[in-house]
Amino acid sequence: MSANQQAFPNNLKGDVGFSGTGYSCIGVPRLDCETATKPLTTDHGDFYLFQPYLGMDAAGYPTSMNGALFIQTTRDLGLPLPASALLLSSNHASGLITYHMLLVSDVSLDGKLYQNATIHLSFESKVSAVRPLAGAGPSGAINSNGAARVEILRGDRTISAEFDPGQIYIYFDPETASAGFGSFSGGRAYPAMVSPTNAHGDSHLTAAVSAILTTGSSDFSPATSTLAHATDLKHETMLSDFVSSCTDYDFTNLVGTCYNLPASSRLTTNRGDFFLYQPYNMNGNVDPSNAVRSSDNWGIFWTTFDAVGAED
């Protein structure tokens, strides 16, 4: 485990952001946990939250494969999420598409380090720019023609920047069970890619979607199958899994380890040089050295069509 994780407060006090598997069920997560049948009540009526993306753990219990964030803030009680991650979107496929990645991590912009910051990467493009990804099977896709941005929140600071053109691409590769924001200088796992890691065992959403597309697996909930068949970088989708920011990532056999972890690749923006780090890691059985780690952090990747609309 990483030293900075050991220092996290575990007492519901202080400023900190966490990520993990997200559960919405009655009972004990990873044991016997059922869908809620009674509502929570609000001033807008009864409220339910479901967990549609389910797999089965080794003990035979249904387990959530989705990711979620939990953030504590004290100094500034505004919403600790980037506004760009909360924009409205269109119900209709207009031909314009935006790819998103949300994570809590360490990031550097113009020489200033922001630790445990909430980071939203976005990439605005057109559906027509999506191309087949070589070697990734019939469902693999890449989109390298768009405008990439980042919004960073840490404490009461919000920083936004636009990446210089021609550095970032979006991809989905079910053969390696990975998707996200790759770069021509840092590879597919940099600046941020979601993918399973062997060190963590259970199946998660990116792995499940990939298994459905590559092997026709029926081991997952019907909603997961529906999601899989919409995952082609041209339609609305959502993937989550462990997120890596690694320039030397091992994609073989879903090992999911990062070699040369301290290295990050410089990306340039209109606000200066950008580096994204992978601070939350663990060692698994296959990566015993301190230099080779698997991410312990979760990222959420999703797509939206162009933003319009009004607030209730």
């Binding site: 485990m1 994780q5 050991q6 996290f8 407060p9 575990n10 007492n11 519901l12 006090k13 202080g14 400023d15 966490f18 993990g20 997200g22 559960y23 919405s24 069920c25 009972g27 997560p29 990873r30 809620a36 009674k38 929570l40 009540t41 609000t42 807008h44 009526g45 009864d46 409220f47 339910y48 939250l49 479901f50 967990q51 990711g67 979620a68 964030l69 939990f70 953030i71 004290t74 009680l77 919403l79 999420l81 909360l86 924009l87 409205l88 979107s89 269109s90 119900n91 949300l102 963590h200 959502m238 312990d296 952090n297 979760w298 959420i300 319009v308 609309g309 009004a310 607030e311 209730d312």
Partner: protein, 149 residues
């Protein structure tokens, strides 16, 4: 010396009472009133003060946990062209951190006899995994937690 002690207090995770907002984010399905949403961005918030955090022990809830049930809980749902914020009726939502097993998130009380932390009455009413709890992530390694792989 005094400054150093104060800095250590801050580094320990905010020992002094202060307002705090807990925020959860997930993309999922659900329902608010008659509105059924799919793959919507769901933001849960719970506004409180750190002075309201209580510690629950193993004899009460089977684990050691930080617990805060005093606050205002809201949910914001963003689904395509629609965004709505709803305020939960009081005494339904709590936040907790399971210090032994590494879970954190927004829990709720089951209908029926209320949980009373001081006397540990009706602990069976605690539902720590609903509406949104996190497990198997970066909080698994916070001090005192035991990782279950």
């Amino acid at each position: 010396m005094i400054f150093t002690a104060m800095m250590l207090l801050f580094a320990a995770g905010g020992a002094m009472a202060e307002p705090i907002r807990y925020t959860g984010f997930v993309i999922t399905d659900g329902q608010l009133g008659n509105w059924k949403f799919h793959n919507a961005r769901v933001v849960l918030t719970f506004d409180s003060d750190t002075k309201n955090v209580q510690m629950l022990d193993e004899s009460c809830v089977g684990t050691k946990a930080a617990f805060n049930a005093t606050g205002v809980a809201k949910v914001t749902i963003i689904d395509h062209e629609r965004i709505a914020t709803a305020r939960f009726d009081p005494n339904q939502i709590f936040v907790s951190f399971d210090q032994e097993y590494g879970g954190v998130g927004f829990g709720s009380f089951a209908p029926g006899a209320p949980f009373v932390a001081a006397s540990c009455s009706n602990p069976e009413s605690l539902q720590p995994g609903y509406p949104l709890a996190l497990h198997h992530g970066t909080m698994d390694f916070a001090p005192g937690t035991i990782w279950i792989g």
